[in-house]
């Protein structure tokens, strides 16, 4: 009996001491191989008396079991150690930088256009467009500009060289208001539209560029009055600037295409030397508006005794500057990557009503 215990202790100790998988395999063969010590013992069971077998059998089987387990455990330990050694040699410098992906941006003018479209969609306004190369009738006459209005002068309006044989000189639209005219002419009222786009005036100094962006708003319906205009502008500006303390001041003014006309001032507060819209520490002129002049409605083929409404116009670049803090209009059109990355918007900053119309 002592022999069996001795054998067990010997085998387990040698297995535990096997230095590598090869030595372990030798131990396995020595114990469990055909000629192995445990195998030999198992073979002796056949020659035993039933009584002896009953007594010895479980002990020898238990020994085989112990040895198998010890080999498996040692194998796992040796493999784990080997893996650990390998991994220890495979280390990489995880501080090495990865290649940066080019980060694209959306121009602030486009972003603000999307914001406007979102806000005005909620108010029931769709987005209309029209040509930038316009004729005098759509840009001036239909909008009730008298024939000698100074805005028609060369120093305000860009004219195009006439095509050979053309009777009329075309021009670059000086405002988005011709879209009002085209919409009234082409669609039956009621009309609720905004018309954003490029506009042009012969102006070039620190705060004016010969090209700029404007958005026009137009409502033509039956019972629309100045109060609706006021509400629409308040609602729009509160949503756009994401502030409830936006205060408007309507001032009587003059535009040929509206009557009554109102210049709209927005209250601002000074924060760290910057004028921030909201409150009423001071007033900033922001947009022009009014009730569409009956002569304009008539020129567009509608009956001004039935249809009336309001129109307004505001600079998109200006809105962007006031909301996002750019101070140089000229930089909008330069394509300077530094500026585009600083003031541009991430591709997925899509303005939505649920997510907000600011980014």
């Amino acid at each position: 009996m002592a022999d069996l215990d001795q054998l067990s202790a010997d085998l387990l100790s040698r297995i535990g001491a096997a230095a590598d998988l090869q030595a372990l395999e030798a131990e396995r063969v020595a114990a469990l191989g055909k000629q192995g010590a445990v195998t030999q013992l198992l073979k002796t069971l056949g020659g035993m008396t039933p009584e002896a077998r009953q007594a010895e059998g479980p002990r020898i089987h238990a020994l085989r079991e112990r040895v198998s387990e010890a080999i498996a455990a040692r194998k796992a330990a040796l493999e784990a150690a080997a893996l650990e050694r390998r991994l220890a040699t495979e280390g990489l410098d995880m501080t090495l930088p990865v290649a940066p992906a080019a980060a694209g941006t959306v121009h602030p003018v486009s972003q603000v256009l999307d914001e406007l479209a979102e806000i005005f969609a909620d108010l029931g306004f769709s987005v209309a467009t029209g040509p930038e190369i316009e004729d005098d009738w759509h840009n001036f006459s239909a909008l009730n500009f008298p024939p000698d209005h100074p805005a028609r002068a060369m120093h305000d309006t860009f004219y195009l060289q006439p095509e050979a044989g053309a009777i009329e000189r075309l021009l670059l639209r000086t405002h988005t208001s011709p879209v009002q005219v085209r919409t009234m002419q082409s669609q039956p009222p009621p009309l609720y539209i905004i018309a954003p786009g490029r506009t042009y005036r012969s102006d070039n100094d620190a705060t004016h560029t010969p090209m700029f962006h404007q958005v026009e708003g137009l409502v033509i319906d039956r019972d629309i009055h100045l109060g609706h205009l006021k509400w629409t502008l308040e609602t729009f500006l509160k949503a756009f600037f994401e502030r409830d303390d936006i205060v408007l001041r309507l001032r009587p003014s003059y535009f040929p295409f509206t009557e009554p006309s109102a210049e709209v001032d927005v209250g601002y507060t000074r924060v760290n030397g910057r004028r921030v819209l909201g409150g009423s520490e001071g007033w900033m002129e922001l947009l022009g508006s009014g009730m569409v002049h009956p002569r304009v409605i008539q020129a567009c083929g509608l009956d001004p005794d039935i249809w009336q409404g309001f129109a307004f116009g505001v600079g998109i670049d200006r809105l962007a500057m006031l909301k996002y803090g750019m101070d140089d209009l000229r930089a909008f059109f330069d394509g300077d990557l530094r500026w585009l990355k600083h003031y541009g918007f991430a591709a997925l900053d899509v303005p939505t009503l649920s997510g907000g119309v600011g980014a």
């Binding site: 694209g104 029931g124 060369m154 100045l226 009554p260 541009g344 997925l348």
Partner: protein, 792 residues
């Protein structure tokens, strides 16, 4: 338009303070742009008397004064003015006072060893004029110790208002006063006109030969005038609003112009020969105008001329030759009505603005031609003496007898403001309108409001005086339910490609719609050239978005940013219309230097192709059906560019490496590639089935992959082979992709090896070996038709 508070009060009887007046002006549409009180900066200066004046012991040109400032003890002042002398009254500034004209704060100082405790001031030091020859001398009755500005009548705030072009009546103080009176700020003082009867017939013939441009020309002569400096009150009025006093008679006309919006002109009778008539200018005529410039005139312009020459650009500016001087003894006063449109055209043509033009082109009150001449006579005699002739009235000013039918409910219906009928009548009455009430009101428009001609104008008058602040915010009607989408398909495409481009690492730029003609010419020329460009750089409407983007690439390169990925969405301006387009430019390196890749890789035409395809896919174009066709425009490298088309006709985009000549034209070193997507050519999405997707039916069996390597002539386009392979078995072939292009060892000269992977998708049953063999055979046969043979 500037005026002072005191001047306003000549026309308006009011107790209102300055702040109320300023707020009211803005509220009724006369926007106040600034208020300045010249007395503010003169507050520290007082009237003082020089008691003694002794020579300075150390300096010949200085004197030591003892000055009585009214405070008791005499103050010692060192003074360098040659006119300083004992007994004289002047303006004193004590230590601590800020001297605006010298930009210094006075302090007690020793001047050449003598203490000086203040300063006697010159005109220039107080910014009251340019004189600096000596200190200000005040008359003997000036009260010592009084605030100088108050005593001198300078304590009169100057109000600057912006008059909108429709308000002819507010181009004079009187009209502004009328508006304020209507707004409840007091009562308009009536203008007292005492017509002066002529003592003798007018010695000169006055005519209008141009009743269109000058319908009325009234005039009279005043003999025996002395045209010296105008009285101090008049000079002060003019100076306060920034007008330079010239002489009594000229100042008189300016005073009436500013007071009543009524321009006048005064001629030196001695310089006129024969009759004075309004007529059209003749070709070749010119005039040396009062601003020192000479203007060439033409027959579209109305002038005032005698038998010899032109003396006045009618209603705009007088001539130097017949202007009044100190030597003038007899004058002719012109009070005329010029047609606004004529004035505007002439002024624009000559590029000449003047106070008279701004008023005539808005329209002056046609009923005020006679009274204007009466007022002018009155004031001319008051400031320069003389005796007036009878009046000559040539022609007649137009009558603007306008009547408007008006329903008072319109104030609410259009203005959104409830104003009681009685209140409406009161407002209109105060503004000079006549009101005849009835079911529909008949409203008579005053002669000074030619801008008013319909019900909407009356609504504006009523609501601006009542106050726009009383207009109640009223929500727009709102359709029930969630707001409907409003974007058009074109707008959706634009949004998708914009955001996709940004996702792909492109930066959106906005560049000018106009480029230089040279830049446009590099892109085939512009269909639209500006007649009056701001500069040569901004002269031609762009035929492509690329010139603007390339110029931006160049500017960025100039700032050290060589790797640029820019895009823009905007219009190209072609002869037949404005085309929405996306342009993109990639310049420099595709992959910057990095430790993983080792070296940089420069952009090439395939990068442009990749962007174009990705953006077209984002726009919903079935990109698998697109063909790359040769024939991109000449701005591209002829062998490294293509057009992307759906079918042979519908070109959706162009892309490629830019032609070296293009790079040179934009001063770029390259490499640069570009693409333009013609957004208007993208076919509209067929939206037949609504939002519902096709039923989901993934293939039941696994696909089979087979590789083929073909040899083709080097010139054969890979696309040709791929198309042929794809078409070999439409049923079984799910996709074909090219994974290797090789020339060199093992490939015969003049040929190239193209290796493709074909994915075969079995349907109900797995492919048998025989079926696979048959498909392979079809693929090889189809490739053979395209000139390819299977590589051994």
């Amino acid at each position: 338009m500037k005026f002072t508070l005191a001047w306003l009060k000549e026309h308006l009887e009011t107790d209102a303070d300055l702040e109320t007046i300023v707020d009211t002006l803005t509220a009724i549409g006369l926007e106040v742009e600034g208020v300045e009180n010249p007395a503010a900066k003169l507050a520290p200066f007082t009237v003082a008397r020089i008691v003694t004046a002794e020579p300075h012991p150390q300096a010949d040109k200085l004197q030591v004064l003892k000055v009585d400032t009214g405070s008791g003890e005499a103050v010692q002042v060192v003074c360098g003015a040659p006119n300083a002398r004992a007994g004289m009254l002047g303006v004193f500034g004590a230590p601590g006072a800020y001297v605006p004209g010298s930009d210094l704060h006075l302090k007690v100082a020793a001047i050449r060893g003598v203490e000086s405790r203040g300063m006697m001031c010159s005109v220039r030091e107080l910014e009251l004029g340019d004189e600096h020859d000596g200190i200000i001398e005040l008359p003997d009755d000036a009260p010592v110790g009084a605030f100088y500005a108050v005593w001198a009548g300078l304590d009169d705030p100057v109000i600057d208002v912006n008059i909108t072009p429709n308000r002819q009546d507010c181009m004079g103080v009187h009209g502004i006063a009328r508006d304020l009176a209507a707004a409840g700020l007091g009562a308009l003082r009536p203008t007292e006109i005492a017509p002066i009867a002529g003592a003798f017939p007018c010695p000169i013939e006055i005519r209008t030969d141009d009743p269109e441009g000058c319908p009325a020309f009234y005039g009279r002569v005043i003999c025996g005038v002395r045209n010296g400096a105008s009285p101090a009150w008049l000079q002060q009025r003019l100076k306060a609003v920034g007008q330079r006093p010239i002489s009594a008679l000229v100042d008189m006309t300016n005073y009436l112009m500013l007071g009543y919006g009524r321009p006048l002109h005064v001629y030196d009778l001695a310089k006129l020969s024969g009759a004075l008539a309004a007529r059209r200018a003749r070709d070749g005529e010119e005039i040396a105008a009062l601003n020192g410039k000479t203007y060439a005139l033409d027959p579209s312009m109305t002038v005032i001329a005698d038998d010899v020459e032109v003396h006045d650009i009618g209603g705009i500016m007088g001539g130097e030759h017949s202007s009044v001087t100190e030597a003038t003894t007899d004058i002719l006063i012109e009070c005329a009505y010029f047609d606004p449109a004529h004035i505007s055209r002439t002024g624009q043509k000559l590029g000449l603005s003047s106070d008279a033009r701004t008023r005539f082109e808005r329209g002056v009150d046609p009923d005020f031609v006679g009274p204007g001449l009466d007022l002018a006579t009155q004031l001319a005699i008051a400031v320069a003496g003389g005796e007036a002739s009878q009046i000559v009235r040539a022609g007649e000013p137009p009558r603007l007898d306008k009547q408007i039918a008006y329903r008072p409910e319109r104030a609410r219906e259009l203005g959104g403001i409830d104003v009681a009928e009685a209140r409406q009548e009161q407002i209109l009455g105060r503004l000079g309108f006549s009101v005849e009430r009835g079911e529909t009101w008949r409203i008579g428009v005053p002669s000074w409001r030619r801008d008013v001609d319909g019900g909407a104008d009356i609504v504006e008058e009523v609501s601006r005086i009542e106050g726009y602040d009383k207009v109640e915010s009223t929500p727009l009607p709102r359709a029930p339910g969630v707001a409907r989408p409003t974007a058009t398909p074109e707008q959706l495409v634009e949004r998708k490609v914009r955001r996709s481009a940004a996702v792909r690492g492109l930066n959106e730029a906005v560049t000018w719609s106009f480029v230089s003609e040279a830049e446009a010419d590099a892109f085939g020329g512009s269909a639209w050239i500006l007649d009056n460009p701001i500069s040569e750089e901004m002269k031609a409407m762009r035929p492509s978005l690329l010139p603007g983007l390339l110029a931006a690439v160049r500017r960025n390169a100039g700032r050290g940013a060589a790797n640029v990925r820019l895009f823009e969405i905007g219009r190209r301006y072609l002869a037949d219309g404005e085309r929405p387009t996306l342009g993109l430019v990639l310049a420099g390196e595709r992959t910057p230097r990095h430790w993983r890749s080792g070296k940089t890789e420069e952009v090439d035409a395939y990068d442009a192709k990749a962007e174009a395809l990705a953006l077209l896919a984002a726009a919903g174009v079935p990109v698998d059906n697109l063909q790359s066709l040769p024939g991109a425009s000449g701005v591209y490298h002829p062998g490294r560019s293509a057009r992307l088309a759906l079918g042979p006709k519908n070109v959706l985009a162009e892309y490629g490496e830019l032609h070296p000549a293009t790079l040179k034209a934009f001063d770029l070193d390259g490499p640069a590639v570009a693409a333009e997507i013609f957004l208007d050519a993208i076919p509209p999405k067929r939206d037949g089935g609504g939002r519902m997707r096709a039923a989901y039916a993934p293939p039941a069996l696994q696909a089979v992959k087979r590789d083929f390597a073909f040899l083709v002539p080097a010139a054969t386009a890979a696309g040709t082979l791929l198309r042929a392979v794809r078409g070999a078995d439409r049923q079984a072939i799910a996709s074909v992709s090219l994974f290797d292009v090789f020339t060199g060892q093992g490939v015969p000269e003049g040929q190239k090896s193209l290796a493709v992977e074909v994915i075969l998708q079995p349907g109900e049953k797995s492919f048998t070996e025989a079926e696979l063999k048959a498909i392979s055979g079809r693929i090889v046969a189809a490739a053979a038709k395209a000139g390819a043979r299977l590589r051994d």
